[in-house]
């Protein structure tokens, strides 16, 4: 079972590695996550850990969520995600910090990409577009979408302009460069989807 935690993207910076090279890294505030619920096969049909992240004020929580947390004597959290049961010893109320990951670990990161608004086919699907000059009247338009006699219709899944971004994106096999236990921060090499302060899920790969 793969270790998984909920985190928050802080931003990008750069650090020197052992050989003195500068490498770009993304700082992620990872945990501490609280186990809010442990789902079991017998009771729920599948096994899972429900993790809570981001401290919340009482007035910002819906009553059923708040009551559940108060009843279990847990700190108030407002972001919840279900993950695989990666450690059987975890019980409701136990805290998981970023130190479950170590340097040079390989992780997958799931985030929500930045919104690009209503985008054309060139930006959204990488179409080639037409010539800019020399009398060309065809620039960034999508072109023919249904031809003539055949197919005589627009096929399902035809790539067209539309809303781009804010998708769930997974980036695989990124290296953990540094784990700063006291600050709950993990540095991961390279870029991570989403804007600053956006939620990310860090999963062992």
């Amino acid at each position: 079972m793969k270790k998984t935690l909920i985190g928050k993207k802080i931003g990008m910076t750069q650090v020197y590695n052992e050989s003195g090279k500068l490498i770009p890294v993304t700082a992620i505030e990872l945990g501490p996550n609280v186990v809010v619920q442990k789902k079991t096969v017998e009771k729920d049909g599948y096994g899972a850990l429900k993790l809570g992240f981001v401290d919340a004020k009482e007035k910002h929580l819906a009553k059923p969520i708040k009551d559940d947390l108060v009843k279990k004597g847990l700190p108030l959290k407002r972001v919840f995600r279900e993950v695989e049961v990666f450690d059987e010893s975890l019980q409701v109320g136990s805290e998981i910090g970023c130190d479950i990951f170590a340097e040079n670990d390989s992780v997958n990161i799931i985030g929500t990409s930045k919104g690009k608004g209503f985008a054309g086919v060139i930006k959204r699907h990488g179409f080639g577009g037409g010539r800019a000059t020399h009398g060309s009247t065809f620039h960034r338009a999508p072109g023919s979408i249904g031809a003539c006699a055949y197919p005589g219709e627009v096929w399902k899944g035809q790539r067209m302009p539309g809303r781009m971004g804010t998708d769930r994106v997974t980036v695989k096999n990124l290296k953990v460069v540094k784990v700063l236990k006291d600050k709950n921060i993990v540095l991961i090499s390279g870029a991570v989807p989403g804007r600053k302060d956006s939620l990310v899920i860090v999963k062992e790969s």
């Binding site: 802080i10 931003g11 990008m12 910076t13 750069q14 650090v15 020197y16 050989s19 003195g20 090279k21 500068l22 890294v25 993304t26 700082a27 540094k178 700063l180 600050k183 921060i185 540095l187």
Partner: protein, 141 residues
């Protein structure tokens, strides 16, 4: 500075002081790994730019060798830099000397900035304070 840059800056092993300015001719002693042994290579040229990057700094050193202009960008805090020697100081009016790229020969030269210690000044500068004091003297009169 944002939080991410602060984190990156705290992890810098050695914070080097910037002992040069834009326009100075510097000699950068840079550690190079050849096979499995390390040696130091000196790179000499004019600093044409200092940029702020992620709370740190980088500087661009330009030199012309065999009529070909070469520019290298060094991170100031890089542990690979052994030391930076300032060879010559120059008088410049801009913070980025990108105009040097279009210049050749004599027009690409920078005027040297000469620092002289106050005590070691010859007659002419000594006369200057005398002029100032003369004003005070007249007041006393």
């Amino acid at each position: 500075m944002n939080i991410a840059d602060q984190i990156g800056l705290e992890l810098v092993p050695v914070k080097r002081e910037q002992n040069f300015e834009v326009g100075d001719t510097v000699k950068v002693h840079y550690k190079i790994v050849e096979g499995n042994r390390e040696r130091i290579q000196a790179y000499e040229g004019v600093v044409i730019a200092v940029n702020n990057k992620c709370g740190s700094k980088t500087f661009t050193v330009r030199r012309v060798s065999f009529d070909v202009g070469i520019e290298r960008i060094f991170p100031l805090y890089s542990p690979r830099i052994d030391k930076i020697d300032v060879i010559r100081k120059s008088k410049v009016k801009k913070s980025k000397l990108y105009y040097l790229r279009d210049k050749k020969g004599k027009s690409a030269k920078l005027k040297e900035k000469i620092y002289v210690k106050k005590d070691s000044l010859p007659k002419a500068p000594k006369a200057a304070p005398a002029v100032q004091t003369s004003g005070e003297e007249s007041n006393q009169d």
